[in-house]
Structure formats: C-alpha cells, structure tokens
Symmetry: C2
Subunit: 238 residues, 2 copies
DNA sequence: ATTTATAACTTGTATATACAAGTTATAAAT
DNA sequence: ATTTATAACTTGTATATACAAGTTATAAAT
C-alpha cells in the first residue's frame, strides 16, 4: 500500500483527544486542557485547536462553556442505529449470541432489489450473509446483509460473529459509516421468519430495511432486519 | 421583552443562508456563493464565513467540495425522529391532515407511567393531548403526547394542528429539543387502535414510546405512537 | 479538431493576533 | 470574618493573511 499523506494537524488532534477520552484518561465531567495549553503542546494556534474541538462537540465528546473550559461528555450513540434492549435488566455480553446462517458469499444483485443501485454497484456485485441473534438463548433478530463488493479482498473469510461487522470493516478496510436511512414496518411473520424467531406464523414483528453509506464511494451496506419484539424492544438514543 | 444583544455576524450568516435554502432561492444541487463572494457581501473574512458554513454542514444543509464549492443538499431529518413516508410518490402537505381527538388538557401523571419521572415533573403534572394523522384521508398514525407542565402558560389554548407542536414550543416558549430516546415494538392492534386506524383487530402495527429532552430542565415530551404500516412506512435519515 | 498547458477560480489547512465576555481564585478593603 | 474589587484564567468572535490542493474554463500548441 502507498503511504498516505500525513494527517493534517487538526485531524491528529481530533484522533489524539478522542483516544484519550475513549481510553478514560479524561472522564465524564473532566476539563480538557485549555485551548492555549493545547496550542503549546501541539505547537500551533487557537484556530487550529478550535477546529479540532469543534469536531469533538459535533460527535458529542465534549461540551464547551465560556470562561470555564471544554467539559468531557457522554459520547452520543452511533448514528441512530437501533439496538435491541431487554425489558428488565441490561443485556450483558454473555447473554448475546450470534449464529451465522449463510456464510459470507459473493452474489449478484437481485433484479428488483429494494434500493436503487448505481452502475458501479451493479457491476461490483455484493457480499451476502445472514445472521440470527439470540438474547438469553431466545432468537430475537434475523438479519440479512448485502455489502457492495468493492475493495474488500478476502472479506468472505472474515469472522463475523459477535458485533464485529463494523469493527471488521473499519479495522481491515478503513470503512466508516457516514450516514444512512432506515424504513420501518410492522408485518406478520411469514413461515420462514416465524420458524427462525420461534414465533407463531402471523405474529407481529418489526421489519426494517436499512441503507448505510460509507466513506468509500459506491460501497454501501444494505440490511433487512426482522425482529421479535415480544420480550425485547428496539432502542435508540439520539 | 428586553432587546437581546445583536447576533454575532456568523450567526446572522447561518440564519440568512438557511432561510435562503428553506425558501428555495437555492435548490438541491445548486452552488452557494463562494466563500470570497460571501466575504464581500457581508464585509468580513473567510474564517468567519467558514464558521457559518461549518454549521450548515453539520445540519446537513450543504456539502462542500474542494475546488468546486458549497453544494446545497437535502437537509437531514431532525434528531432521528421518524417520519411517515409513502411507498410511491412523496407526500405533499395537502395530503396530510391532523385531527385532534383529545384537546390539550392538564392532567396528573399515571401511577405507573412508563418512564421514570423526576420529583419536579411529578409535582408539575402534564399537558396531555392525542392526535390522529391522515395521509390521503387514510388514518395512519395515532399519537398520544404528554408534556411536563412547566413554563407553558396558556398552552392548552394553542392550536396544534398540522405539524406545529415543535414550532409552537419553539416560537412561544423558546423550547428546543436537545436529545431523546425511542423504543419500538411490533404489536397486534387492540380494539381501540384498530378502530382508529381502520384496521382489522390484531393487525400488526408499529408501536413507539419516545422521550424527548429539552433545553429546559425537567420539561420533557413523552409520546406514544401507533402506526399503520400497511400502506406507508416510518422513515428515518441519519 | 484534438490534446495539452495554464490561469483563475474553488475549498482546505494554518499562522498570528486582538478584544469581548464568562468564571474563578486571590488580594484588598471593610 | 465578610464583602468587594481585581487579576488571571477560560472560551467566543473576528480580522488579516498565506499557501496547498482540487476543479473548470480558456488559450495555446499540435
């Protein structure tokens, strides 16, 4: 791979500060070093430092208070993507299980795919896989995923258990989710879905179709979700 | 009311540009005046202009492209709040109708209200109302709303038809939505809901419970939604 | 007519600086 | 001991400027 050009200073500052907060060096409520202190540390000037801090405000890492400083906050939840929550206690990692039903495989797009596809996407085809997620050994969420097959060498051999899809894309392929959309319906479970989710046929389930756009042109992630909400619900912070 | 201090220049720029885009003077895909042109018009310098443009990027009004300019975009939907969309054509204003079923009225909180309430909220009570929304004369969304009754004089006399709840709160009471959460289920419509939404009893509908926090302490907006998704779906951009 | 180079534009990153305005600890006055 | 003023800090807003780097229309060369 070609060595990429050096990061702009303000982006390095963003990365450094986010890392420090993520790692717990600064905890919620703590004051970040003042703008002038950061200027000295990074040998730069306030406009550059403030450019970085603006990004931390947007992503919810900090709030600023005039006269006081930059206060570390709870980072916002990611992108309005719904997570599954239980009615009672929080769901611990060990109560979550993911089963791969269809292993990642190269496919061509269906002729009447729900979303409109660009010519580049049509040419590239997709990588398809499906997963069934369990909470406390109860099947709760069936998910089919289509990823445009662009710049994803050896992806079909990756391990996608747990919550690792976004991690894998980010770590090995530098893919970041930029924005997206989701559509939501309530439908009656058909035969296949009711069997997967251990429900009576026709039981109300939440169906979602999502399109996530990434930082790489034409590389989009599409997913169809079918969720059993008898014991759990879909949850979203914004 | 006391005359507030003059708006900072960059905020005036934000307001002006947003207004121009909202009013359609610049349409999706159009190029905004270049930074240097805006500098001349407002008799200021690029850092100030860029401070304003940064805000427009964050709220999704524009995207910028190096070498080209600031391109007007589709503004992001607000705060991950789901809107109702049709399968076919876009929904025009005249196809939307809102019927007030229960007029705004002061109430006390239910003993086992779904969300936990602060002592101040319990003491203040709430303003309750319910609305039924139609698209093309089809009842699609039944919504019950509870607003903590704090600093809302004469609210029960306000007109809440159309999409004006947030506008009313903002315009007359300076209330802004800061953050929120939503929980989503698929349920079978009970007798009352199925009648309101003109569905067979037991038809799958989307049920949401939402809590929206505002800039005013203890003033929260709670709403229960019941949505008929046979002809339309809930839609969300993020 | 087509290709190539260039000039003139655009936004991206950065420095250097100034004063306004809010917060907080300290020193001075009572 | 308590109050008051001040100094030293913080972020907020703004000016002025410079060069890098991407885009596009135009002019020059072929």
């Amino acid at each position: 791979m070609r060595t990429s050009q050096p990061l702009p200073l303000y982006k390095k500052l963003i990365d450094d500060l986010k890392k420090l907060i993520d790692q717990g060096a600064f905890k919620k409520g703590d004051l970040l070093p003042s703008e002038n202190e950061l200027c000295k540390t990074y040998n730069t000037t306030r406009p550059t430092v403030r450019q970085a801090l603006a990004e931390l405000i947007n992503t919810g890492y900090i709030v600023r208070q005039q006269g006081k400083g930059s206060i570390v906050a709870e980072p916002k939840k990611g992108l309005g993507i719904l997570s599954v929550s239980g009615f009672t206690a929080g769901i611990h990692d060990k109560n979550l299980k993911t089963e791969i039903l269809d292993k990642p495989q190269k496919k061509t797009w269906d002729d009447n795919f729900f979303y409109e596809l660009s010519d580049e996407e049509l040419k590239a085809g997709n990588i398809y896989f499906s997963r069934l997620r369990y909470i406390n050994d109860l099947p709760v969420l069936f998910e089919e995923t289509f990823i445009t097959n662009i710049q994803l060498p050896r992806f079909t051999t990756r391990n996608l258990e747990d919550r690792s899809l976004f991690n894998t894309l980010n770590k090995y392929y530098q893919v970041e989710i930029k924005e997206g959309e989701q559509k939501i319906w309530a439908i009656g479970a058909d035969k296949k879905i009711s069997k997967l989710l251990a429900l009576k046929s026709g039981s109300p389930i939440v169906h979602m179709k999502r399109k996530l756009k990434t930082n790489i042109r034409n590389l989009n992630i599409y997913s169809w979700l079918y969720c059993n909400t008898e014991e759990y619900y879909l949850h979203d912070n914004f």
